[in-house]
Symmetry: C2
Subunit: 199 residues, 2 copies
């Protein structure tokens, strides 16, 4: 298969941005207008009937880089965006949880894997789609993992075997590149970066 | 005035959580139900008419710890929560920006201050109110600052003068405590922590 490494991201860009069009006020059901409220400097969805201002803000994608000896755990996606491509276990942070709890939950859901969090490893801004990716280095606690509903398969990869041309997201590619580079020095500082804006 | 150091946070907890009650579908205007959708494991607002699932996720509060020689810049809040109490310049991250851009924007809006970002300094989860606070160490570029619309006043404080009993938020108190402690060693690592759950 001739995968484009950016395919997953492009699909994500088209499909999952947090900037959702709003037609009706979720509080009172009246059609909303899209305008700059008094005292603000940005367009918001505003209800002229009940006065509600509906703010939309970036979302966090939290996940893990699960490590076992010289291998890392990847999941092959069973859903779009990036169906059939490989990723680190990660997903949208939920209310009521911490970033690390969300990362562990996603790792359990997508890879059936139990991990111990080591440290926050990459924080990557993706302003085009209003997301911030937070990936944690984590120690895989056992080899009893299994594909969850959103994965086709889950497997361990040494550096030489990473499917670089079949990765679902640029954030995952960047994190893996940092990781194998840092393995040479044995130092794993937090890497903060931004994905370039495309529009 | 007899301020409770936690007052700001409690007000925030009561007033600004991201978990907003939804009555009507923002896509089609039909009343929504609050239930666990098929294939999910959490309650969501779901529209049985058009099928939309309305996810709610944590929000990021981004801001700066602006430093000038041995002093830090604080703002006295002109709005609730925490009216009259002191804070670091910070606010909700907006769509289309990076975390550092949001932190600089908030610093300009609330304190009229221009800063150069040094590094991410504290990441504090506040799961009770579905927020993650990201505060950056920053160098104040000049002394030409002034209170913005959301501030009563803006001032520089040396450690001995910090109004510890009149701080608006626990995240701010924690960040200032780390900072002055780290000043003694000259090392400023990223501090990750969670505020305790209260309910």
């Amino acid at each position: 298969m001739d995968f484009d490494v950016h395919r997953g991201f492009l699909l994500l860009s088209g499909g999952l941005s947090n900037r959702t069009a709003m037609n009706y006020c979720s509080h009172c059901g009246t059609p909303v207008s899209h305008r700059i409220p008094d005292g603000d400097n940005r367009h918001r969805y505003v209800c002229d009937a009940c006065g509600a201002i509906h703010y939309q803000n970036p979302r966090m994608v939290v996940g893990c880089l699960p490590v076992w000896e010289d291998q890392v755990l990847l999941c092959r996606r069973a859903i779009e965006p990036g169906y059939g491509l490989w990723t680190l276990p990660a997903g949208f942070m939920e209310n009521s949880e911490t970033t690390a709890e969300g990362a562990q939950r996603e790792t359990l859901e997508e890879a059936g894997a139990r991990v111990e969090i080591v440290d926050l490893y990459t924080l990557i801004n993706v302003p085009d789609i209003d997301q911030v990716s937070l990936l944690f280095r984590a120690r895989l606690l056992d080899l009893d993992f299994a594909a969850g509903e959103e994965s086709l398969e889950v497997a361990l990869f040494a550096e030489a075997d990473i499917p670089w041309d079949e990765l679902a997201f640029r954030t995952v590619k960047k994190t893996l590149e940092h990781y194998f580079e840092d393995c040479r020095s044995g130092q794993f500082p937090l890497h903060l970066s931004n994905l370039d804006r495309r529009h």
